[in-house]
């Protein structure tokens, strides 16, 4: 009766074989793995959206510097950053804000965040210097919101180091007010995702910041140093596993331009075991109060439910959005939010690492989620490391589609394992209207099929032509601006909200659009996708429908209904007032 290691070996191998493949073969960044589902036969239905990368032609010619080109020594170099559509000058045209990183050996001259002003002719002008937004460092996420309710959108950027709050001065310039706002860190932190939102419904935008890792270059292990620094036998950057987790922060807006850290009393600081990434703040259980969902890398994702008293309770596992359907941690990166099945409830789409499926969660309207990755056929794709994502109607057929950008974190791996390329294509999952999706790459246009090492991705209509375009961060390349050259004559409506009692940006508002006997809900978000911020004008494709009514659930609690709104144009709705004149919008 000697229980030797041989017995253990037999046990571990036997168990491993008997357990799922991921247990046997799991390693590296995240243990969970999923196999691609069998692909169904192509639907044969035409897809009317067609994406072309016009980034360089539009003037987005500066590369997004981020870490080494051929290899990454630290994880700091690989997670990348986000981008935003922001109408900083209120001219009704989406401008572009791009974050940027640096290099370990020092920042090249072109390394800076950039603001591009929309020239309203399909091109942009770099106004970074003029706007006072030049900044060099390891930027991560961006969230947009009018935190001081002055009618101009402000910018918050997270960093490894010190986050920055830029106040929009309303004259084309910004001022770094981080210190004055009380947002200086006492020590170096790795700010990751962020979201402006009004958690206490006082009309002032508060701020949630996720933190990724407690990290220092001086103490970080290097590639191959231990088992967390190898991926399929190749020495790579270490982490996040094995590195200490970050602590997330909630800052209450005092209404006077300053913030107070309320993380502890709000029940946020207690969640200390997750590598936080993208943050989404939305009313997921439809109780009128915003909740917080944090995609977490290699750890359970977090869902903070609002207790209506300034505190939150974390219920990610209970509500089914923390782990995979078999209870394993996943590498949560980006989050798409939308209503894919037109039932009026906000669903979630979360992107993950290679060899795992991105997950689609269906919301029952009470904030309880079911993993529908398999039944929706989203699980056919597991080849890529996926980042920015959206649940947006790309072809205006009235059914929100899914989109994701991809890119490896280990550029050195493809030299040993060519199947894990550094640059990989984007993917569209077009909504077939029956709660299933069909993956399209080449069929969605060259802008989708081209391979890049992408991270952040923002959705918006930069050319105001009534469809959804996309802005994408590519590491160590120029950004992509995917113009949607949509075909056909599908209808649409855009809804721009202006809060009065609610925060001016109307962040957190839920808009239910009723058309063709269906209801689609969208919410104004400060951040989603991966570390990015979308066009705040909510875009609803309507298909062939010409009648649309809208219900607005304002953050203040006010609910307003608008019948038979005009289609194929932007409609601006002011809280308690109704339809008001659009700013700077030219109807197409």
């Amino acid at each position: 009766m000697i229980y030797t290691r041989r017995a253990f070996m037999g046990f571990s191998l036997g168990s491993a074989v008997a357990m799922t493949a991921e247990r046997m073969f799991g390693q590296g960044v995240v243990a969970h793995q999923a196999k691609p589902l069998a692909r169904p036969a192509p639907s044969g239905r035409p897809f009317h959206a067609h994406f072309v990368d016009v980034g360089k032609a539009a003037g987005l010619r500066a590369p997004t510097i981020y870490g080494g080109l051929e290899s990454k020594r630290y994880i700091l170099e690989s997670t990348g950053c986000g981008c935003a559509f922001i109408d900083y000058d209120n001219d009704g045209w989406m401008d572009i804000f791009l974050l940027c990183g640096t290099r370990l050996e020092g920042a090249p001259a072109e390394a800076t965040n950039r603001l591009y002003k929309n020239n309203r002719d399909g091109t942009f002008t770099d106004v970074t210097e003029k706007a006072g937004l030049r900044a060099v460092g390891w930027a991560s996420g961006v969230c947009i919101g009018d935190y001081n309710n002055d009618g101009f959108e402000d910018i918050f950027c997270t960093y490894f180091g010190q986050n920055i709050l830029y106040r929009n001065n309303g004259d084309g310039t910004f001022t770094d007010v981080t210190k004055a706002a009380g947002l200086l860190n006492e020590q170096t932190r790795w700010g990751a995702g962020c979201s402006f939102f009004d958690y206490n419904r006082d009309g002032h935008l508060d701020l949630f910041v996720s933190n990724y890792i407690r990290f220092s270059i001086e103490h970080a292990p290097v590639p191959g140093a231990n088992t967390n620094c190898n991926w399929k036998g190749v020495p790579v950057e270490c982490g996040p596993r094995g590195l200490p987790t970050g602590r997330h922060s909630l800052y209450k807006n005092n209404g006077d331009g300053t913030f107070t850290d309320v993380s502890q009393q709000a029940g946020i600081a207690q969640a200390t075991t997750c590598y936080g990434m993208t943050v989404v703040a939305a009313d997921l259980d439809e109780d009128g109060w915003p909740d917080i969902y944090v995609a977490c890398d290699s750890t359970p994702s977090l869902l903070f439910m609002n207790n209506h008293d300034g505190t939150f309770r974390e219920e990610g596992v209970l509500r089914g959005v923390a782990l995979s359907d078999d209870g394993e941690e996943q590498a949560g990166m980006g989050i798409g939010v939308g209503d894919y099945d037109l039932d009026g409830h906000l669903d979630l789409f979360k992107t993950h690492f290679a060899d795992d499926a991105n997950v689609l969660y269906h919301n029952d309207g009470k904030g309880n989620f079911d993993d529908v990755t398999r039944t929706s056929r989203v699980g056919v794709e597991t080849r890529y490391i996926c980042w920015g994502a959206g649940m947006v109607d790309l072809d205006n057929d009235g059914h929100p589609d899914l989109f994701m950008v991809t890119g490896n974190v280990y550029p050195e791996v493809e030299r040993t394992l060519p199947q894990y390329a550094n640059k990989t294509p984007r993917a569209v999952f077009r909504n077939l209207g029956n709660n299933t999706f069909e993956e399209l790459v080449e069929a969605a246009g060259p802008g989708v099929a081209e391979a890049h090492c992408s991270r952040g991705c923002a959705f918006g209509d930069f050319d105001n032509d009534g469809d959804v375009d996309m802005l994408i961060i590519n590491l160590n390349e120029t950004p992509s601006l995917l113009r949607n050259d949509i075909q056909g004559k599908q209808n649409w409506i855009k809804v721009k909200l202006e809060g009065v009692k609610s925060n001016r940006s109307a962040i957190g508002a839920r808009v239910l659009a009723h058309y063709g006997g269906k209801t689609q809900v969208q919410s104004v978000l400060s951040q989603s996708s991966f570390y990015s911020s979308n066009d705040p004008r909510l875009h609803f494709g309507l298909g062939a429908n010409t009648l649309v009514s809208v219900d607005v659930h304002w953050p203040s609690g006010l609910v307003e209904s608008f019948k038979h709104l005009p289609i194929n144009q932007l409609v601006t709705l002011r809280e308690g007032v109704g339809v008001v004149k659009n700013r700077g919008w030219s109807n197409t």
Partner: protein, 501 residues
Amino acid sequence: MKRFPELSMMIRRILALAGLLLACRSSVFPEATQSPTEPVTSALRARDYDKAVELSRAALETSPENAQLWTLQGIAFASKGDNKDALAAFQRALKISPNTIAALAGAAQIEYQANSTAAVPLLNHLLQLRPEEPTAHAMLAVMEYRRGNCAAATSHFAKAGELLDSQVDALHAYATCLVKLKRMDEAVTTFQRALALRPQDPREHLVLASIQLMAKRPQDALATLEPLLQVKDVDADTLQLASTAYEDAGDTPQAVSTLRQALLLAPRNISLYLDFANICFTHESFQVGIDVITEGLSLEPKADDLYVARGVLYVQLAQYDKAEADFERAYELNPNQSLSTAAQGLAAVQANDLDHALESVQTKLARKPNDPLLLYLQADVLSQKGAEPGSPEFRLAMQSAKRAVALQPTLPAARSVLAKLYMQTGQYQEAIEQCRKALAIDPKDQTAVYRLIQALRKTGDKKELPELLQRLAQLREQATKEEKEHYRYKLFEEDTPTKQP
């Protein structure tokens, strides 16, 4: 643990005691008076058993309903070795007077020696009369142990108390039962009692150390092995066990060093290479593991286990062709071993080739249709392929998972996939049942806990949820700690130390 000579001696002692009691006219027979038993008792005292038999027969002719006489006759027969007649006499005594302790003890002994279950009611009866009787408890414990009823056995072993301290085999039986019941700390204590009886016996040290490892007390195991490790001619088995202890104690360098020492002593011992591979697997030092296994294969080229282990390591490096070749070779060497076929299927799964995985599993399944591992894999691969409820593929998956569970109820992975399939069809109560059974096998099964939470949520039964959520959090925390321990070390080839930055 087939025979318990020491226990037989105990029984002889109790019979002697019974004889003495009879001779003393003790309270065993309170109704006894100046009787015909006196001559028989005298003959027994004088160890003249033939005479005792003769006298008892004569006395019984006039007093056929005298239970004392039947009992004495039984003792006389038993002392002569005539168990058949002894048992008949005891039974006759018990028929007349069912509470005759000496007759119960005598009959129980004979039945016990014959390994007859008839001893059990006799011993239970005896214990009703004498609840603290340690010998009866000991006998009953052994009977229950032999019947595989460890729960009852351990209860009686415990009540046997110090009586066991002279019975190594009984202690082993007791401890074995404790191990089966997963009462590891008590098992350790019991094996320590056995070791105290035979402190010079290296086997006792090895057994105790093994159990200490199972009880997750590697430092104690090392202390137990220490005397064996100090001797000049330490053997490979001891070193192998010590290596396990060092590894479990978090001292991977010493584990590797000790294992290397064992390999020098027994270079053809396959299990040592498997141990090495296991350490390499744990610490994700896959290439080192492959190299060591290759060395083993050069000496033992027909060791199918080594091919399987190397194949597993190749998979970690995404070298699927080499992995498949190894799994195929393992299968050629030993077609009866299902691990290689299962691993082959899983390698294909890992290579994202589910069709190939399914083909591989089904090919092997055609030859071994009742292999639970392969049935499980068939269910799992079909499930991973996205078989839709209602489809033939889904039905096959469900059928395979059910058969795997029926064939090997202790295969938690099969229960896990069955629970998953039940969840997909909305059969939440069935899913709950499978999760609970999986957790009974492996209380650390995070997947089972998570699925149980989700299934209970679906049924609206929320009573257990807080406890389960806490349990899942604790399991995750524990897993993270263990992972950190595993990741403390990485193995490198001795001739390439510069690889370690």
